[in-house]
Symmetry: C2
């Protein structure tokens, strides 16, 4: 099924601890506390800041924030649009991995459970429902962003929302790109990282870039607003 | 300063482990892992479910969900309305405690940091800024809900949003109660618990109760929508 709207959480700050940091004591201690190998745990600036600095991790300001991705996903998957199968949601990580999200997924609100789920996903690449064996989450490695938007989300337009974009409002953007028909009209890309802008790699594939706030808004706030406006527009169509 | 709108997260599922559960192994183990006393840690169903069941905790279905309060607070404190001092936010817990929230508070998105902050707040009752000593958070015990809405939030009207309320929309509710003037026009109460409805105790003080979704919406979704509509209304005033 192709949903009416696709949401991509782009440059998402979600990854397991990179190899160059796995021998740092902060990582080893944290992994031990979680009962995991250092390579299995999520990079998390709250715990691994010293390791990230010592290891001189590239693009450090954008990395190690799984909490941001957790909030963004929670926001998207709590909307009536998603619950009614009118929204497809993808996570495109900072390392070019794609997380496919099945329909009717109840993403855990507890960070402890979310973290467990993501560690399992990065390890096993797929998570299936224990009840009916359908795929809940799937992780694909090395996916071109172009492939994601053209062959997976399959919308005719792809726009980005970022404080660096053209000044607009959620309502204006939605009325321009969403008309409420069944086939996907628009992929909306929102940054899943704490600071900075989309990578040039993602920016190249955006038809347009808009800013929907007078001030900088956090990813989950942008998601809440734009999906709410989509819902209003689509219920009128 | 009295803000234009007050938000109360009511019957909030946030408390430290009740005395009758502190000897349960699940609680002792979890406290040890956090390096705290069992009485100091937050009741959390993800970890303490077995203790809650064994201890036959009253109103169990509404308790032990600090993650819900975390999401709800994050949603409210990320809005331009709060950041521009036009919104005051209160948490009214299931045990009649009030959390006062200072202006310009950056609530941690990382649950680990939020949990640490809340444990400190429940212990010390007050958290001040290390930079300028102003109060960021304050916890008051045994506050009557009436005192909160009449003497603290000080709005002329107090409405609740709940799936059990009169069918409406966020836009309709806001246009009825918010007119954008400086003094507080309305206190909006939203449930900070996973299931069920407001307690009778809170319901008694609500002038009206509305449902703003065709389906049940989670607390953070309701907060995002109603505050977004307030912002739109107030920017037009």
């Amino acid at each position: 099924m192709v949903a009416s709207v696709a949401l991509v959480i782009g440059d998402a700050s979600l990854e397991t601890v990179p190899k160059q940091l796995v021998r740092h004591m902060a990582v080893i201690r944290h992994a031990k506390r979680l009962g995991k190998q250092p390579t299995e745990i999520l990079l998390d600036r709250s715990y691994h800041h010293s390791a990230m600095v010592a290891g001189r991790l590239g693009s450090m300001w954008k990395r190690g924030r799984p909490d941001i991705v957790h909030f963004a996903l929670q926001e998207a998957l709590s909307t009536p649009l998603y619950l009614e199968n009118k929204l497809s949601v993808y996570v495109y990580t900072i390392n070019n991995k794609v997380i496919l999200i099945g329909s009717n997924l109840r993403m855990p609100k507890s960070y402890f459970r979310f973290e467990g789920l993501m560690m399992k996903l990065f390890k096993d690449k797929i998570i299936k429902s224990q009840q009916d064996n359908r795929t809940l989450l799937e992780l694909l490695d090395d996916v071109e962003f172009e492939h994601l938007i053209k062959n997976m989300a399959r919308c005719s337009k792809c726009i980005g929302l970022s404080s660096g974009g053209l000044a607009s409002t959620a309502q204006e953007v939605v009325s321009k790109y969403i008309n409420g028909t069944a086939r996907c009209q628009c992929t909306i890309v929102i940054g899943g990282f704490p600071k900075g802008h989309f990578s040039d790699y993602i920016s190249n594939y955006l038809d347009n870039l808009y800013s929907i706030g007078k001030t900088k808004l956090e990813a989950h706030v942008v998601i809440a607003r734009v999906l709410y406006e989509c819902e209003k527009k689509m219920s009128m169509a």
